[in-house]
Symmetry: C2
Subunit: 188 residues, 2 copies
């Protein structure tokens, strides 16, 4: 199959993500990428603040207590933590992540260079065989344990500070995402 027919097939399929739709903050960006004849997206996350509990080390064992792609409040987090589960609970901020298929290696390289230049330092080509698949990612993560055995390990004040830091990073992430739109404009 050609890149173009692959693209049409993929983009006409039902969204298979748990959420079933694209995160609101990056809807226009995803649309823009998919309008570009050299690229199409296969999965994406605009950046998010999450609370997850891990009954074991296995990935499939994760319970999501909370997920937000927007700024969060102490009230929201506090209510997501009541009642606390017995297993360890982690607070995480995860920045924008995009999976993009490129028409060819040259387009993929262009995307990687530009993405790294605007701060998506952990961007790379993950597949070169049947498809040229690129992952755009960065390192500005917050990730820390906050509760275990049904008890909070931190003070309410520190939880408030974590929320503040995560909201700040969500904002920086938004600014970086805006720069991403310009990359595509240059290429068109």
């Amino acid at each position: 199959m050609t890149f173009k027919s692959d693209k049409n097939t993929i983009l006409s399929k039902i969204d298979k993500s748990k959420k079933g739709k694209i995160d609101k903050p990056i809807k226009s960006l995803i649309k823009k990428i998919n309008k570009n004849s050299n690229f199409y997206t296969t999965s994406s996350c605009s950046g998010r603040i999450v609370l997850l509990s891990k009954p074991s080390a296995k990935k499939q064992d994760i319970n999501w207590l909370f997920k937000s792609h927007k700024k969060i409040s102490f009230k929201q987090i506090n209510s997501a933590l009541s009642p606390l589960p017995n297993s360890p609970v982690w607070f995480r901020f995860e920045p924008l992540i995009l999976h993009i298929t490129a028409k060819n290696l040259k387009n993929a390289q262009y995307l990687i260079n530009k993405s790294r230049a605007i701060g998506f330092k952990r961007s790379g080509i993950q597949s070169t065989k049947n498809k040229t698949a690129v992952e755009i990612a960065s390192t500005e993560i917050i990730s820390t344990i906050i509760a275990d055995k049904g008890k909070l390990l931190i003070s309410k004040n520190y939880l408030k500070r974590l929320i503040k830091e995560a909201n700040k990073k969500l904002n920086t992430n938004k600014d970086k995402t805006k720069k991403f739109i310009h990359i595509l404009q240059e290429q068109n």
Copy 2:
């Protein structure tokens, strides 16, 4: 220049990293990679626990209060935090990171596939032009603010828990690194 002569030039140069030498826990791994005729390393970190203070958002503004590639103790961290700086202090665990140049795209793809399969999920090809450069990385990060304005934001007990979690991740990282050696054995 050919891959082979590039490799000889790079490997004969003086180590330009701040530390000036390869991290002890991965010395034998790096040696093994460089013995393989399809690859050579350009930079590496075995995985580390760090304390850093950030007077501003700029990367060059980071002050390193503490760095360790081995398990850490409360005593070590406590003394690295005395006296506390005025700027925000972050506690971080960062897993193994390798920058490897591959002979060609096929070798690079092999490395990416195998690395992702053993848990280095954020691995990708970063350059395909003059050199085929691969970054091997993963997502098991701990990263959280612990002090600001000269004051600790967390309790000593929570700091002890963070140390425990970081030491645990350092151990998991070590096990994953061992698997990495097998990848190269398969390829030889």
